[in-house]
Amino acid sequence: MSGSKILRYLGALVVLILVGLGIFVAIAWRSEIPASDPPVTSAIDPALVERGAALAAIGNCNVCHTKAGGEVFAGGLPLPTPFGTIYSTNITPDPETGIGRWSEEAFIRSMREGVDREGRHLYPAFPYDHFTKVTDDDNRALYAYLMTRKPIEAEAPDNELPFPLNIRMVLAGWKILFFKEGEYQDDATQSAEWNRGHYLADGLGHCGACHTPRNQLGAEKKDELYAGGESEGWTAYALNAASPAAVPWTVDSLTHYLSNGWEEKHGVARGPMAPVTANMMSASDGDARAIATYVVSVMGEPSPERVARGEAALQQATRHPPGIQVQAAGGQTVPVAATSEDRGAKIYAAACSSCHDAGRPVPYGGLPLNLSTATYGPTPLNPINVILYGLPAPEGERGPIMPGFQGVLDDAQVADLLSYIRANFSDEPAWADVQETVAHVRAGEEDTELRSLSSGGSAPANPTRRETSW
């Protein structure tokens, strides 16, 4: 080929690339919405603010946008991602460091399109792939709520991302591949309550952000919705037909869990779910039930085998005084203590049984482990977190307290204990690499911030089941 032809082809290639980039930038570029003065808070309708508060509770805005020891909504919380650490921003109405100069239009655009006021693309750590579903009306309420918070001057640290991810324009590409913009559309074949639940769960609730697995580029796998995921060092269990719960969830039980943070046949919310359920206290009861309705429908009708297995687990949920030998019943439990040479059995009998077999009702008593979803889950991550660090006491509110055992159980002992629990209390195959995972957690490689059951919630004063007498 002649030199000029090569040049011509190269030229055409360059033009193509430039045109491609041009098209890309044209698609990706977003205009800046001019800064506006903060709205006069007294002119904002209090009813709108109240609605916004309830919606913000479902969206869990305060959870990401508040750092430990920091002011609410002032940002600065580090979010570890596989790509680097992203810091949440200040969404108080501070004019300089917060969103005080954002107009309502800018706010709605950020929720709908994932673009900030200046036109920069936002990292999907801010789950606009869910928030895009939120209606304009609801966004207005959220805007009203946020604009009436106390302005805090706080600059979030810079994100720690490698090149080229630190160039926001790149996100436009991600959006082209994975982001579908648009308000929620009702499914006419479903009830109003189901639709409400779908709208909340997939929208503000962004449940899939934790409960759906992600691909290599960090996007949720659309064909594996609610198949389970991980969040901040905790397993977010599958909410579809693969739900590992021993007793299948019902709308009633899931509503109770969401509204209270615990459920007697399933467990206690203790990782990132703790503030979610705590925030649900501020939402209406109807909303919790709507979400539960939707999620249970995603789980689908449990098979007769699953139902029978759940019933068997309930029968065996032990109700006997602590320290007493657990009697074998059927195949699922074996006698605890001295007769077994299993190190895990001995540890369980000595350290765990006195609370977990005491018969004291959840949430204050130890959950019978054959009912705990964690016993059946795909990885031992959650039980490891709880065994090592316990459940801290809520601040000034009733709630379960569990001591942590990191000081007395070494990695091998935790592994033995977990193997025993898995084998004795579930019918699932043994977990793999338990000891490695324990070491991993203990080394702080997982960011397992243990939360107590608190932040606006309160376990009930009068559990319906009776307590032990001594």
Binding site: I347, A349, A351, S354, A393, P403, G407, V408, L409
Partner: protein, 168 residues
């Protein structure tokens, strides 16, 4: 028969393996520091250190302690020769009924051993599992800070710094 070390001394303890360490310390070994407050891991009166980590001795069964090193408040010094933590608590008069105090001291010791310059926020967060009903918290905070300062100057070999600010 479980072999463990308590305050530097080896012991062979003959007791049922599920006996909580608290009763081993108090009954088998006659040590007074660790106290029964709840037996449920909720209040911290029983706090001791095992291999340098603060634990609730009331929920730590003997069988887990094979070959481990337990430290109680008696291991921090004596009445004739108090260690820095004890010295600090005496100087700050950080006790009312005093029942929770040994647990507080052991909990604090575990923190200060690795971080003698711990900040107020760090101390508060670390001490959260321990309860005090008399409301002596302010003096306990002051004593812990004082202990940290005493430990730091001891490590540096310098003379201890002046008294910390105290309320009242």
């Amino acid at each position: 028969m479980v072999a463990l070390t308590v305050n530097g001394q080896s012991h062979q303890i003959e007791a049922s393996p599920d006996t909580p360490l608290l009763y081993v310390l108090r009954d088998e070994l006659g040590l007074n520091g660790a106290k029964y407050g709840c037996g449920l891991g909720q209040c911290g009166s029983c706090t001791v250190m095992v291999d340098g980590e603060a634990v609730f001795s009331c929920v730590t069964p003997l069988l887990l302690l094979e070959g481990r090193e337990v430290t109680t408040v008696e291991g921090l010094g004596t009445i004739e020769n108090p260690g820095p933590m004890q010295q600090a608590f005496i100087e700050e008069q950080a006790a009312q009924c005093g029942y929770c105090i040994p647990g507080m001291m052991m909990r604090a010791q575990a923190l200060l051993q690795s971080n003698p310059g711990a900040s107020d926020e760090e101390i508060r967060a670390h001490m959260e599992p321990n309860l005090c009903r008399c409301g002596t918290h302010m003096r306990i905070m002051a004593a812990i800070k004082r202990a940290g300062s005493l430990m730091q100057t001891a490590a540096n070999g310098a003379a201890p710094s002046g008294a910390t600010e105290r309320a009242g």
